[in-house]
Amino acid sequence: MVAGNGKAKETVIEARGVTVGFGERLILNGVDLDVYRGEILGFVGGSGAGKSVLMRTIIGLLPKRGGKISVFGQDMDIAGDAERQAVERRWGVLFQQGALFSSLTVKENLQFPLREYLRLSQRLMDELALAKLEMVGLDASVLDKIPSELSGGMTKRVALARALALDPDIVFLDEPTSGLDPIGAGDFDTLIATLQRTLGLTVYMVTHDLDSLHTVCDRIAVLAEGKIIAAGNMDAMLASEHPWLKAYFRGKRSRAGHVAEAAAQARLAPQR
């Protein structure tokens, strides 16, 4: 696959024919997906289509019935404990509800992965925890709070900071902007874009937020009926005639819908 700038891109996640089901029901039926280094991939699909299931399958929380998943070229099925841990050390996950450890303070939450994987001085860990916190737009006043004292937006930011604690190559974000006000969601998008630029991250983002898809995503993959029905940039999504894509990207709630409407009217106006 060749990216927009003409440079051949390195694949960091490669999923082939991934099939996942619960009981009788097949949620994913042969999903093929590539994620390239350095891109922000927006992942969309209807509620219950299996977006989170695919993410959880890739990160190894759900068993799959068939198919192959490679992360950083490592086939996760044949990876031993050490190889799996080496891969896990290189990704960070932001869960939908934050999944902060509720009995640890914010600082301890941020330092937990550092403490487990690296041998650092306490001073450096304290400084790094604060640095990460400031990178996600918070300050030292939240360091000693426990997660139940944080607001929804703060929880997401702290969880993102924890996901970034080990400077991962990939971050998985499960609906990062859900439950945030539009200003907060916009800030969060900017933050993710900034971090992606500064840290050279690859971002895998499950989202329903059309504004996020417009502003930060390089590429969008669409999951429906257990398969990836489309993958490409926003223009490709807008140009698609697939009924679900049309409803999603050009529906009443989409900005594209408004823009397209306005453009259509502008085009009509001079002709009159």
């Binding site: 509720s102 001085s121 450096l124 990178m135 030292a140 006043s141 970034l164 080990l166």
Partner: protein, 376 residues
């Protein structure tokens, strides 16, 4: 560390520091030492140039340490300049530039004062728990009154479900434990009474002990550990996930919906379990008396009839619902006290079991005084 990550050379007035290798998380520990050493060694430097051209990779860890080095020199009033930094890393360095380290400093706490404060808080906590128990008891009475006035509001399905959990599913383990306790008392009694030739009085001891005290106590301790802890954990998890608040906003009283059926299930279930448990203990005692002590079942029963009367049985059974109430109320109070963290759920569950067992035993003492004074 084989390769130096930071090499220093002096050119006249200017100190030149050249970074090398990978400035990443895995090298963060040696890098930190080298950086701090360099900053100490050249504390007098006035002009510093840091050459990052030879650094292969840089992540937040390395970038932060570079920032720390720059800040150390600037703290001494030196001018610093970073050269040869790859364009990709410029944004990261700029980002870390913004980080302000000074957080709000907290005044150091005197450990003696802190220890005394903890003791004080714990003692005040006991008072708070007593008030909360009384409060819950009141709320249960109000909810019970409301349900009596409007019987259709009572959650009968919930009661049956709880009764199944507390009573029916608890029967096997309660029977087993009380059977074993009865057997052990019987064996010990026979072993020691035999010295005085008073084997037969073992029957009196088992009958009175089991029916008046042990049956109900063991059942209540088991129920506190089995069902009380479950109540606390259930209500606590519901509290954590705001389910209790959701009920309240829909206009339901959580005490009426959640607590009342659970408490009633205990008040109905525990006497039944006590009855079954007492029978099992007598059976176990009788069996051991026969097999180990050589007391025939006929003689055992004969002697039991003479030793106990209905009053002995009543004393145990009267206590059961009150103890059930104590276990249930404590469990629900502790459940409602759970806050946001999983740790608090664990603490409250522990507190629930410990407090309810303690209170059951205290209550048993009060009952002993009460029954003695009315001559039962």
């Amino acid at each position: 560390m084989a390769n130096a990550l930071l090499i220093d050379t002096t050119e006249g007035e200017t100190l030149r520091l050249a970074g090398a290798g990978a400035w990443t998380s895995t090298n963060a520990q040696p890098l930190e030492q080298e950086i701090d050493a360099a900053a100490r060694r050249h504390a007098a430097a006035k002009q510093v140039a840091i050459d990052m051209g030879a650094v292969e990779r840089l992540d937040t860890f390395g970038a932060w340490l570079l920032e720390r080095l720059v800040r150390a020199f600037e703290g001494h009033g030196a001018t610093t300049e970073i050269v040869g930094l790859k364009q990709d890393y410029r944004a990261l360095i700029d980002e870390l530039r913004q980080v302000k380290l000074e957080g709000p400093t907290r005044a150091p706490v005197n450990p003696v004062v802190a220890a005394l404060a903890a003791v004080g808080r714990n003692i005040a906590g006991v008072g708070d728990t007593l008030v909360a128990v009384l409060n819950m008891l009141g709320a249960i009475c109000v909810a019970f009154g409301r349900v009596i006035a409007h019987p259709r509001r009572f959650r009968f399905t919930s009661l049956v479900h709880q009764l199944d959990n507390v009573g029916w599913k608890g029967v096997p383990i309660i029977l087993l434990i009380t059977f074993l306790v009865g057997a052990i008392i019987s064996q010990q009694g026979i072993f020691h009474f035999r010295k005085f030739g008073a084997d037969i009085y073992v029957v009196d001891m088992i009958g009175i002990l089991v029916l008046r005290e042990l049956g109900v106590l063991i059942v209540c301790i088991m129920v506190a550990g089995r069902s009380g802890s479950a109540y606390t954990a259930e209500l606590g998890a519901m509290k954590m996930r705001e389910e209790v608040d959701a009920l309240r906003t829909m206009g339901f009283d959580p005490v009426e919906v959640l607590v009342l059926p659970r408490i009633l299930a205990l008040i109905i279930g525990v006497p039944i379990l006590t009855f079954l448990g007492s029978l099992a203990a007598l059976y176990g005692g009788g069996l051991v008396a026969w097999l180990y002590g050589g007391i025939d079942p006929d003689i055992f029963l004969q002697r039991l009839k003479e030793a106990i009367d209905v009053k002995t049985f009543e004393v145990g059974m009267i206590k059961a619902p009150f103890m059930a109430l104590v276990v249930g109320v404590v469990a629900c109070v502790e459940g409602m006290k759970v806050k946001g963290s999983s740790e608090s759920l664990g603490l409250q569950t522990t507190a629930s079991v410990v407090e309810s067992i303690f209170l059951v035993i205290v209550l048993d003492g009060f009952f002993a005084i009460f029954f003695a004074s009315i001559g039962m």
